[in-house]
């Protein structure tokens, strides 16, 4: 792995030198009390101690609302048109390792039986610059799901703070390599050693053990106990970097035209599994909560060999009912 030293001025130069017509830059910025990924912000924040943004950056790869095609009726003829795809490149700067790691995870589901053209195009058109993380709170548990502060999964380039003004830039992927060659050709190679803080996981668990337990305990009372206070919103799923359920609907612009559209959906909604007949197999919140945990730690692992979670803790921080998914898995794992 090639490593270089980069100072803050060089990062600032990079931001200003990328041609705006070809590149969008997504970086954390402060919005009131909280952080958020903001496009082309004039105040991007590159701070490894910053808490995670309130919502992950997945919407830039898997938009909250995406048109699949448009339809138009003229007389009795119906014509379809493809939406235009903006072929613009995206640089994600200072992505948390727990966010960057979500892209390879999501890629598995979006390239399984059907290759999601839009998702793949967006990933291919992006360069992710990860940033080593120095934040942790009681909701974080990235180490329990096989990640850590310096994990480069999903990043093309990775930054680790070296001193006040300098970062160690590690080239992670080929995409990262060509980016550095094109835009940062004059960096000095780094040969020293990096030091980072240790991450204290408050709820270490073994996700492999958890998987087996979940698979064997579909009817366990734990689901009722943890699901009963769930109020059934989709905050957790929508802020999550890895949740990827969507709903496909047709929406009219007038009586003769419209579009087919893909919108975020979530398993916590009562109508998520409601059949046209009115029957609902997941007819209570506890069943829906079981689904969420099972999908993340059992079904996805079963199918793709990794859990559908990066341990970012967003779902817990924002839950209006104070539910902590990490605690649930922790307690399962430590049974």
């Amino acid at each position: 792995m090639k490593e270089f030293i980069i100072n803050t001025d060089e990062i600032a130069n990079l931001i200003s030198s990328l041609p705006a017509d070809k590149w969008d830059i997504l970086a954390p910025a402060k919005d009131g009390k909280s952080f958020d990924y903001v496009l082309s912000s004039d105040k991007p924040i590159i701070n490894s101690e910053a808490p995670p943004s309130k919502i992950s950056f997945k919407e830039y790869f898997f938009p909250k609302s995406e048109t699949l095609f448009y339809y138009k009726r003229e007389a009795n003829e119906i014509s379809l048109t493809e939406p235009k795809f903006a072929e613009k490149k995206l640089l994600v700067l200072a992505a948390k390792p727990c966010d960057a790691a979500s892209l390879p995870i999501l890629s598995k589901v979006f390239n399984w039986d059907y290759k999601d053209e839009f998702f793949n195009k967006r990933v291919n058109n992006s360069v992710i610059i990860g940033l080593s993380c120095a934040y942790s709170d009681e909701s974080c548990f990235c180490t329990s799901v096989g990640l850590d502060r310096n994990n480069t999964k999903g990043s093309d380039i990775f930054l680790t703070p070296f001193n006040d003004k300098q970062y160690v830039l590690s080239v992670v992927s080929d995409k990262g390599d060509s980016f550095v060659k094109e835009f940062l050709p004059n960096l000095t190679e780094f040969t020293g050693t990096k030091e980072t803080k240790e991450f204290i996981d408050n709820k270490p668990f073994d996700y492999k053990k958890t998987k087996d337990w979940i698979a064997a305990n579909f009817e366990n009372k734990i689901w009722a106990e943890t699901g009963e206070v769930c109020i059934g919103c989709a905050q957790c799923a929508f802020v999550c970097p890895t949740c990827h359920c969507f709903d496909i609907v047709d929406e009219n612009c007038d009586l003769n035209c419209g579009r087919r559209i893909k919108n975020w959906d979530a398993c916590q909604f009562g109508v998520f599994t409601k059949h046209a007949s009115g029957h609902n197999p997941r007819n209570s919140q506890e069943k829906r909560y079981r689904q969420r945990v099972s999908h993340k730690f059992d079904y996805y692992y079963e199918k793709f060999g990794e859990v559908l979670c990066t341990g970012c803790g967003r779902c817990t921080r924002g839950c209006p009912a104070g539910i902590d998914i990490g605690e649930i898995v922790f307690s399962i794992s430590n049974q």
Partner: protein, 668 residues
Amino acid sequence: MKIGVFVCYCGENIGRTVDCAAVAKELSAYPGVAHAEAYKYMCSDPGQNLIKQAIKEKNLDAVVVGSCSPHMHEKTFRKACASAGVNPYMVEIANLREHCSWIHDDIPSATAKAIDLVRIAVEKVKYNEPLQTIQVPVTKRALVIGGGIAGIQSALDIANAGFPVVLVEKEPSIGGHMSQLSETFPTLDCSQCILTPRMVEVYQHSNITLLTYSEVEKVEGFIGNFKVTVRKKARSVKDEVCTGCGLCVQNCPIKKKAQSEFDESLTTRPAIYVPFPQAVPNIPVIDRSVCTYYKTGKCQMCKKVCGREAIDFEQQDTFLTFDIGAIIAATGYKLYKIDKKPEGHIYKGYGEYGYGELKDVIDGLQFERIASASGPTSGEILRPSDKKEPKKVVFVQCVGSRDESKGFSYCSKICCMYTAKHAMLYKHKVHDGEAYVFYMDIRSNGKGYDEFVRRAIEEDGVKYIRGRVSKIYEENGKYIVKGEDTIAGVRMEIDADMVVLATAMIPQPENSKVAQLLGIPYDKHGFMQEVHPKLRPVETSTGGIFLAGACHSPRDIPESVAMASAAAAKAMVLFGSDILEREPVVAKVEASTCAGCFYCQKVCAYSAIERKEIRDRQGNLIKVVAYVNAGLCQGCGTCNATCPSKSVELIGFRDEQIFAEIQSLSGF
């Protein structure tokens, strides 16, 4: 779905401003439309046959007719379609006449609008569903509100046809204003003489329940199935024992405190009184506002003299409830008073005529009492102030009527005739007297009416002056009437002994209250509104409620009687069948999504929302949901709009239908 579109030219009415052929052509290419054509008169037999033929040939499921207002011919077209096998509720009307051709001049924009209007209807009809009428039983009993000549006539007609009638009159006696009149135009026959037998007939009729001194308190239900509560006001006299001997009235020590309503305040009456000698029922009433007993607890003179112990000072208002099938409103009129009105009143007073403070400036009804043989002067024409015979009388027409600045836009219709009658009666009784009439136009268009006015002018020498009176004031015992003769073009000044004002006819003040109880519209003056000015003049927009007499608009006796008989006939049409078919436009609850908040119940004006428990097979309560009683629902849809989860829908105006109508606009 195959929709047929039929565009009516309505002769030239639509065709002149809307290119009907272009509308049909445009719509023929519209999605869902299987057939479109235009025809001169769609409502005519050949027009209807076109529709029927197209239904059969093209196998149409739904029909849109672009024609006049649905209020005109919706039923016609529904019936035509039904006879050709299309459910009548699969028919929608686009209003191309009242809402388009008649109000626009520009052919291209009117045609464009017409296309839009038809498209709205086409989009709606796509979501229509075949509906069946709702059948409800009919209670064959009528309620008549008001016991004037109109109410009496309606009640007698219905009762004579064999149906029970409840007649409610707010005054102690029936008879109304007609009982106050001296003689009637144009025949000059005595009003009392022709009215009294009718009043007695009402009283004695086995099919009529007469409730005088009573008011309608509450009206619930709907056509064929009203539930009416009547407040029988405390008379303080037990009507079942009173014989009407009159001893109580004669012995009442109160003589002068109360103004006689019957004599239009020209005389006084006792606290216990019968409004007039021929009153029906001949049972007195105690006016508690003036009776000494109710003020001081003493007196009881009437009780002492009553041999039948009929006086009951403790009597309370009682409430009677009736099941009613049809209601006739015959609440009548009153005469406008020229008194000073409070600021902002819809009618202004007449300061220029002395605000009613000049003693010998009287109104028409007061003159009727003066001229009446049973009146305060026993028929002698004497002026109220000094009981002297006036030698010069000025009659002023259109006081209030046809005067927008005073708040009246309408003509009171009967004043021309009764003024001629008054002047004539005066001349017959005061042979050396002079009678002047100030008029705007003489409206004497009834059988024998114009002849009657001519007779007043030509035979009786009444002097008619065309012009308005600008001022009346008192000077040296005379009333100076200043006006203008617009024909001669000279100013007039007459020193009269008495002035009679033909003040406007206005609805009874309770008219609007009664209309609200009944849920029927009334106009800005308070006159009740018919549903169609020409073709349904006695029906209201509420099924089963009809209008008779001057509560609807100013009208004279023969017109009131004719209207009363018409209203009675309408009620009897209803009573002609045992089952009534009602529009299936009612609300319906989707129990699976109903959250049971019952906001629908709160907004329902008909108590049509009931509670229904949903239980599982073990009998455990799952939830309580709303349920619509289709018999009571009137189809306003307020519940539908109020329901937060959208679990109530108004059939015929379902959300889907209205959304489709709205969305059809986006294509314009």
